[in-house]
């Protein structure tokens, strides 16, 4: 009798404790939930593929995941900054194509890498700056401003060359073809660049005033301004960062393919937006994580690989990614609706 009583008391007490913990958790980390959902989906995909194919979770395969999607990851970091301010950048695919082909043509005419690489990055920055200034000072919708950037980048790419340009520069070839191995796993310098971009992006987002201002602008531009934060500079800067990431992705993709091609990255901006949203970033701004976007890239890459393994049509990738995107947007709406109600 007394024993039962004791058990009841303990269980109810621990129940209350757990409830309190859940309360603390949801009040602190509700915005991480979509990212957790992305991680869960990634694990489910990997586990499911391993069970189905039996040879999926190999070092080779996992390493290829990073290698093949390094450019996407770099773009996703920049896009996360933009989307957290409730903006959008449609130009990233063409910026990547333009900087890639521009770099390749400079390499082809013998310009050394110490000049070419900064020039590639700065071309991305210039287009980003243009978009940012249009958005902030000319009050153009981000969608329209970056659409202009999209056409500009693509047009400039065609101006540079209509054909693919091979790159012979040893430094660039080193970036693309070197493999640091660890057992079955390997990583290329481009993969290192992608991971470093993610780490730097996450640090900036979470541990600098600029990063927190990015979130503040996404939460409420008006409030951020009343709090004395530099909203204008922040809004321009996120597009500059996205442009910089576009330039860096151009470098990564050129190194990966060993050439520049003006038709690279058509439609990539939409893939990037998809992975950022799947990674848990809210399109309405204010919530999201650079690390989440990395998870989003892995989800995207894994779906691609699975479809390769199945030998199915690549178009299925888009159907599945589309379905996932839909799911995530619904999940996010539900979370936002719930947190709005609780207020």
């Amino acid at each position: 009798m007394s024993a039962t009583d004791a058990t009841t008391t303990t269980s109810s007490a621990s129940g209350a404790g757990a409830k309190g913990m859940i309360g603390t958790f949801t009040s602190r980390y509700a915005s991480v939930l979509p990212t957790f959902a992305a991680i869960t989906i990634l694990i489910a995909l990997l586990a499911g593929a391993e069970i189905y194919f039996g040879n999926f979770l190999t070092g080779r395969n996992m390493s290829a995941l990073l290698l093949d999607n390094a450019y996407l990851m770099v773009l996703a970091v920049g896009m996360t900054f933009v989307i957290v301010t409730a903006g959008i950048d449609l130009s990233v695919g063409s910026v990547m194509a333009f900087t890639g082909i521009f770099g390749a043509s400079l390499f082809a005419s013998g310009v050394p890498f110490v000049i070419v690489i900064p020039v590639m990055l700065l071309s991305g920055v210039a287009i980003g700056l243009l978009i940012g200034v249009l958005v902030q000072y000319f009050n153009v919708q981000p969608f329209i401003a970056s659409l202009a950037g999209l056409f500009l980048g693509r047009g400039l790419a065609y101006v540079v060359s209509l054909q693919s340009i091979r790159v012979e520069d040893p430094v660039l070839l080193w970036l693309g073809s070197t493999r640091f191995t660890l057992g079955d796993f390997y990583i290329a310098p481009t993969g290192v660049i992608a991971l470093l971009t993610v780490i730097v992006g996450a640090l900036v987002m979470h541990f600098t005033r600029f990063g927190r201002t990015v979130y503040a602008v996404g939460g409420s531009e008006q409030s951020a301004r009343l709090m004395g934060l530099n909203v204008a500079r922040t809004k321009v800067m996120v597009y500059v960062i996205s442009g910089l990431c576009g330039g860096l992705a151009g470098l990564v993709l050129t190194a990966y393919t060993g050439s520049g091609y003006p038709r690279n990255g058509i439609g990539t901006e939409l893939d990037v937006i998809a992975v950022v949203v799947i990674g848990g970033t809210l399109l309405s701004g204010g919530r999201g994580y650079v690390l989440g976007s990395m998870i989003g890239v892995f989800v995207f890459g894994t779906i691609n690989t699975i479809i390769n393994f199945m030998g199915a049509e690549q178009s299925w990738t888009h159907i599945i990614v589309g379905a996932l995107l839909l799911l995530f947007i619904v999940v996010q709406r539900a979370i936002v609706a719930r947190s709005d109600r609780s207020r």
């Binding site: 602190r28 005033r209 927190r212 503040a216 409420s220 009343l226 709090m227 207020r343």
Partner: protein, 505 residues
């Protein structure tokens, strides 16, 4: 408090918006360690004065002195830096960030150039503890109630070197416990020597917490008073601008003349926020005036009666049969129409023409598929322009270019084109000139003579008495009494509106 130096001193403050003078040579002062209230009806200049102190609006004339030094705040941020902070009714914080970040944003503690999140949370805890608040600094602000968010906004304000705190309608969406918590914090700040400007239209709260009151009316200063020395009735009289000379001869009519056969009859209407158990009857051909102070629930009652807000309980009968007004659209079909007090934001489309604004509701009722022929539209618009005397009588003029009175008439025309049975007018004469006012008042009378049931809301008691056949008096969300207009004069009505149960002093 005599002899003490005022912390804030505003002298001859004048703010103009174009030709309109929102604040006219107002003197205003606040002492350290006092809670000061700013009172006045809509449009008295309260928010303009607040904006002038907090750097949102520049002064056209006059000077602002803070602790003996002449200052000019170019931005709210400059005012904050000087120790003048504002907490608005709609909290201007960031719901997507943590409580700690909302307190420290822009001033985060840093280590090695990076934000030190642990230190930030710790310092936030200290600030919150200092206010006696038990809030998890790491929690996301949006997960808390509005009351807590407001307290966090105060915490942000006091984490700087706070000297003046402006609370603009802080209690309007809080419940009793939350108000008590807020007042505890206010008293605590008062002890620390902060000057607090508390703006609220709840008289009870003003009398509970405030030491001193400044009353504004029509952009001008009425006076500054100690709350302990100012009777509630006197305060209301100063806000509304009534002479209280013959106040003593208050007569009470016990039996209101109920119309024998009310067209619209509402019983026990309760609607959040602000309306409790309200009974309203209005007959065909009658104008029922609604009189009450700002915050008494005038607008809320109107919205509950016209299907804009769904009442939580209560019955509305029209011609004795019970109706449920599901939406404004449904109410329009039944013939119950509402004209908002905010004709710019909730009424007219200033970029569209008079014709388009008038035809809008009729067209909407017909459905977009059955477009009214242009000739018919023009005919309809012209007939209303003539009937109501809208000037200029050009149906293609943009409504935004008309005077306030003519805009009001366009709104009326739109509603009347629907051939309504019940017309609810919320402050139709606010912000329009005297001549137009009389025209609107006469128009309302004519409409009633033509068989409409009209509910007429106004902050001006004389007007309610002039237009209304009977007057329903609202106090704190309740219909306190309904009396015939003949049995009232402005002074007796004033006394009823203010608070008849005032302890004799």
């Amino acid at each position: 408090m005599d002899g003490a130096e005022p912390l804030v001193e505003l002298e001859g403050a004048t703010v103009r918006f174009g030709a309109f003078t929102a604040l006219d040579g107002v003197d205003f002062r606040m002492f350290p360690g006092e809670v000061h209230s700013l009172m006045g009806e809509n449009g008295a200049g309260k928010s303009t004065l607040i904006k002038a102190i907090t750097g949102v609006l520049p002064l056209d004339e006059g000077s602002l002195t803070l602790a003996g030094e002449s200052v000019q705040f170019a931005t709210p941020h400059a005012a904050q830096a000087a120790g003048v902070s504002t907490v608005y009714q709609e909290v201007d914080l960031l719901p997507n960030l943590s409580v700690a970040e909302n307190i420290w944003l822009g001033r985060e503690p840093r280590r090695f150039g990076l934000i030190d999140n642990a230190a930030m949370r710790r310092q936030a805890s200290e600030v919150l503890d200092g206010l006696g608040l038990d809030i998890d600094p790491a929690s996301i602000l949006g997960s808390h109630s509005l009351a807590v968010q407001q307290l966090v906004a105060i915490a942000r304000a006091i984490s700087t070197d706070l000297r003046v705190l402006v609370l603009d309608e802080p209690t309007s969406s809080l419940d009793t416990d939350e108000v008590a918590e807020l007042f505890r914090v206010i008293r605590d700040l008062k002890q620390r020597g902060v000057a607090i400007l508390f703006v609220s239209h709840f008289l009870d709260q003003v009398y509970e917490i405030c030491d001193r009151v400044t009353v504004l009316r029509d952009g001008a200063l009425v006076g500054e008073y100690l709350t302990t020395e100012l009777l509630r009735i006197d305060l209301v009289q100063k806000m509304l601008g009534r002479d209280v000379a013959e106040f003593a001869t208050r007569e009470r009519v016990v039996e209101p003349d109920l119309p024998p056969d009310p067209f619209l009859s509402a019983r026990g209407i309760t609607s959040a926020p602000g309306i409790v158990d309200a009974d309203i009857d209005v007959a065909e051909g009658e104008v029922l005036g609604l009189a009450g102070l700002l915050g008494s629930g005038r607008t809320e009652l109107a919205r509950a009666l016209t299907g804009i807000d769904r009442p939580q309980s209560g019955i509305i009968r029209i011609e004795k049969s019970e109706v449920r007004l599901e939406s404004p659209r449904h109410a329009l079909q039944i013939g119950v129409v509402y004209s908002s007090e905010n004709r710019r934001t909730e009424g007219l489309l200033p970029e569209l023409s008079i014709l388009e604004n008038i035809v809008l509701a009729v067209q909407a009722q017909q459905g977009a598929m059955r477009r009214i022929p242009l000739a018919r539209q023009r005919e309809l618009a012209m007939s209303w322009i003539d009937a109501l005397g809208i000037r200029p009588s050009d149906p293609d003029r943009k409504v935004g270019t008309l005077s306030g009175g003519n805009q009001q008439k366009v709104m009326l025309a739109r509603l009347l084109a629907l051939s309504p049975r019940v017309l609810v007018l919320d402050e139709p004469t606010r912000g329009i000139d005297v001549g137009a006012k009389v025209e609107i008042q006469n128009l309302v009378g004519e409409l009633a003579d033509n068989g409409l049931a009209v509910i007429f809301i106004s902050a001006e008691l004389e007007e309610v008495l002039r237009v209304g056949d009977r007057v329903a008096i609202l106090r704190e969300g309740r219909v306190a009494e309904t009396l015939t207009a003949d049995s009232l004069n402005p002074d007796t009505l004033l006394a009823l509106v203010a608070q008849p149960d005032l302890p004799e002093a």
